[in-house]
Structures are given as C-alpha cells and as structure tokens.
C-alpha cells in the first residue's frame, strides 16, 4: 500500500538529487547528465565572482527578512484579536473574510495589484493623486516594490496563517481564564499571561521553519511582479535560476546557483534549530 508513494518520492524527489552533479560538470547536450567534463567548483566561483552576486543576495535576503519580520507577527496578532471576540456570529463573519484571500491564486492577486495600483487607470493611483502623493507607479518603482510585495502577502495569507494559532488558543483550559478573572486580571492581562504563553511553542516551531527558508522566497509572486523598472530590487536567486537555466539554457551554472541556495537554507535551518534547542528546549528534531 505504501509502494506507490515511495516510488513517486524516489523518482520525483530523489531523482533530481542525482542530477545535482550537474553543478560540478559541464552540461553536454549530446552526452547527457553525466557525460560532461568535471569542473569542480568552477560554477560556484563564477557565481560568487559575478557582478550580480551582491545584488541577488541583497534582494533575496531583504525580501525574505522583511517578510519574516512583518509577516510573522501579523497572524499571531490577528489570532489574539479573533480569540477575544465574544459574539459568535461576528467572529464567524470576520474569520470567513480573513481566510478568503488565501484562495486567490498568485496570478489573480498580482493581476489585482496591477489593476488597482496602475497609475493611469487604477483606483489607488487615482486616490494617491487626490491626496497629493503624486503619481508614483507603485509597481515599477525600486523603493515601493518590497513594501507592496510584503504587505500584499500579509493581506493574502495573514488570516489563513492565523488558523494554527487559533487552534493552539482553543486548547487552553477554560479554568485558566476563570482563575485569572478571580485574581482580578484585566483582559489585557489575560492576553499577556494566558494566551501568549500558550502559543509560544507553536511560534517557535513556525519561526524555525520560516528561517529555514530564508533564501527561498516565493518565486511565483516575485516573478509575476517583476518588470524592467523594478528589476534592480526584484531579481532574487530563484528568479535568476529560472532565467539563466530554463530561458537561456545554462544548465550547469543554474544548477550550481540552485544548489548554493539550498545549502544556505539548510545551514540556516540547522543553525536556528540548534539555537532554539539550546535556549528553549524546542526543536524540529
């Protein structure tokens, strides 16, 4: 019963790992994966010495760190707010609403950004002119790309990501609330001393996982939001790998950059996990 799943994982997840050697070889279209000459770390050196290296690293790290710094607390705060609503109906309506954007596809979301933020025909562009913010093209400016990316991401996924914290909050023993009340705790204090401690373990695990993906920023959305004007700040490792690999067929170079990315992520994950294990006794393994 388990065989089909094993077969799929071996072929489609472990199969490509065999192809990693491409990062150390010249790819030869005629001879295939293993036919090319062994070049050692040549392609890694080429990447690190390339003029794009500094920019790519800077963009990738900036976008992912901003996503984590702003995006990580947002669902926690939302869950704490939702948890405080006493009226069942109101809570349900709000929950239904905040989960909804998660089901919009990335393309449609970027499409929405395009029509809403367009400086000529978009409503946001119009309103900005109205309040005297001028006609900055939010989608084509190097200074606004990152905020638009991060904020729209929070708009889309904050609600969905809050579910896990809500689930954690729902497991709190009601007696804890009662005794806090008897001790004269205000509702601020119950949040501070009952709710937050209850979700800390979940927070730590999710934080480790997100740090393990620090260079793995979402290819899809960035790729779709890219244009010639914001490219200096929007080109990240993942989009660059796609462009030089799939678009311009430099298979070996592209594989090397991809591998570089994966290894850095892995190091991050192990490091953050180790730190967490040391200080909070919590870890993924």
């Amino acid at each position: 019963m388990i065989f089909p799943a094993i077969a799929v994982i071996l072929i489609f997840n472990y199969g490509p790992m065999y192809g990693i050697q491409l990062a150390f070889r010249d790819y030869d279209f005629a001879k295939g994966l293993t036919g090319g000459e062994w070049r050692g770390l040549y392609y890694f050196k080429q990447f690190m010495n390339s003029y794009l290296f500094a920019d790519l690293m800077k963009n990738t790290v900036t976008i992912s760190l901003a996503s984590i710094v702003l995006g990580f607390p947002a669902p926690i705060i939302l869950a704490l707010i939702l948890n405080q609503i006493r009226r069942k109906k109101a809570k349900q309506i709000l929950q239904t609403t905040v989960y909804l954007p998660h089901f919009i596809s990335t393309i449609v979301l970027v499409g929405m950004l395009n029509v809403l933020l367009s400086p000529e025909t978009g409503i946001v562009g119009y309103l900005m002119k109205l309040v005297g913010l001028g006609d900055i093209n939010l989608l084509a400016s190097t200074s606004t790309f990152m905020p638009v990316y991060v904020l729209s991401d929070i708009w889309q996924h904050c609600g969905w990501n809050s579910i896990i914290y809500l689930a954690a909050l729902s497991t709190i023993d009601p007696q804890l609330y009662d005794s806090a009340k008897i001790d004269g705790a205000s509702r601020w204090q119950t949040i501070r001393y009952v709710d937050i401690p209850a979700i800390v373990p979940t927070m730590i695990i999710l934080f480790i996982l997100s740090m393990g993906n620090v260079l793995g920023t979402g290819f899809e959305k960035i790729f779709l939001m890219q244009n010639a004007l914001n490219l200096p700040v929007s080109e990240v490792i993942a989009t660059y790998v796609y462009k030089i690999g799939i678009v311009s067929n430099q298979f070996s170079y592209s594989s090397a950059i991809g591998l570089f990315n994966t290894v850095i992520n892995f190091i991050f994950l192990i490091a953050v996990n180790a730190i967490s294990k040391r200080f909070s006794n919590m870890s993924l393994w």
């Binding site: 489609f12 490509p16 499409g111 029509v115 708009w155």
Partner: protein
Amino acid sequence: MSLLSKNGNEIIFRLILFVLCVLIFLIIAYPLYFIIIASVSDSTLVSTGHVLFLPKGISFFGYQEIFKDTRIWVGYRNTLVYTFLGTFINLLFTLPAAYVLSRKEFMARRALMLIFVITLFFNGGLIPTYLLMKGLHLTNTMWVFILPFSVNVFNLIIARTFFETLPSELYEAAAMDGCSHFKYFIQVAMPLSKALISVIGLYYLVAHWNDFFTALIYIRKNELQPLQIILRDILLSNQVFASGAGVGGDAGGYAQRYADQIKYGVIIVSTLPILILYPFIQKYFEKGVLIGSIKG
C-alpha cells in the same frame, strides 16, 4: 483596582477591539468588493474614482467578451481535468501510504518517514528536476501536472497523524475476525476519515487549481495550458482578446477602454469556482489544522 476603573478598562478594551475588527474586515473585504463592482462598471468612471461603493454606468461588456474568448474555456477545461484527476490520484497515493506509516508494528516506519521528511528541506533544484521530466518524456503532457505532485509530504504527515489517533482496539477487533490490513483500511479506516479526506483533499485541490509554475516550465502546447497561464496573458501581459475588442484599426482606444473591465471580469470568472466551494468547505479548516498539528 476599583470596580469603576476596572469597568472603564473593559470598555476601552472592547472599543479598541471593535475598531480593530472593523478595520481588519474593511481592509480584507473592500478590495474584493471593489473588484466585483468594477467589473460591471464603466471603466472611465472606475479610473476616475467615481466607483467606490456602488457600480456606476453598468455594462456587462467585459463579461460578454470573456464568454466569447475560447482560450479561457480551454484553460478552464484543462484546469478542471488536472485538478480533479490530480486530486484523485493524490488521495489514492497519499492515504494508503499514510495508513501504513501510522501502524506501529511496521518496522521500516521510522526510516521511511525520514526519507520522506528530508525532501521537505532538500531538493535537487530546478534544472535537475527539469532534465528529469524531459528524460521521462513528461514535458508537454498532462501528466506533468499530476504525477510529480502525487504525494505531498506535508499532507502525508497530516494523514499519518490522523490515522494514529484511531483507536488501536478497532484494528485488533477487526483482525480477530480475520480482517486484513487492506480490508480494514477500506472498510473501517476510510469511513472514519471523512474529515481528514476533505481537509487534505481541499489542500490538494487548491494547489492544483492555482498551479502555474508547472505549465510555465514544462508546457509549450497551447491546447494544454491551464487557466492560470491564460490569466497571466490577459491580466499581466496585457494581451487583448483575439476576438471582439481587437477588431479593426480604430480599436485601440476601444480596446484600451474595455481592457480593464475585462480584467476585473476575468478575476471574478476565474475565482468563482473557489468562491462557490468556499462556504461548504470553510467549516473544515480549523478541524484540518487540529488534525495536522505536528506533535513533537
């Protein structure tokens, strides 16, 4: 703390809570509502800020154009096929595997689990995967949407965690009556797992529906393109419709004027199935997370 100030505290708290909730509701709901009213309003009025609360200059021109466009329907059909066939195969592969991994008496359980979990953190990367798909002749076929993704390790873990919560006495009783694992899985475990099946089924369904990366890399044939790629052409690459809006030489301004209305309409049309399904599946969300919360 006196009773009065305590009540005052509570009132301030409720007030802040109320304001925050209304604010959050508006921030999330208004853009969605705006797209709907903009799709049936005159584009010029929309872009000059006249359409804020109610549609104005109502016209369904955008929708007419969308219904005339064959690409959208081809994409729709393809996506439906990939989504439903894909999800079916997902469940067919994932559920039995998760069941096996949940059985404590299964010796290789820990080792296999490790093999599965490693793939969450380490992968071959884009190019080796691409070459593999090419080598397997999956590019430019519908199977590239289905086979490589037929097992998702996160969903596998969720399913395994769920099966572990089924009482072991149930299996013992069935085994006494001479029930094999296979029969037990089909006749006892499956009927008890409706919540689980709907949750991971939904995860798989949404992933297939929104998948555009696969088509971007592996599909060159137009007749195999899923809806998302066609949406990209219309929404992001500004491709005006082949029929209708592009007719004749003076169509430039005409097309420009309606391009945005068409875009708003396309957003609605392409998101509609999910929005229709949404109320029915929403009640399972939290259940799903509770089932899936990874223990230790």
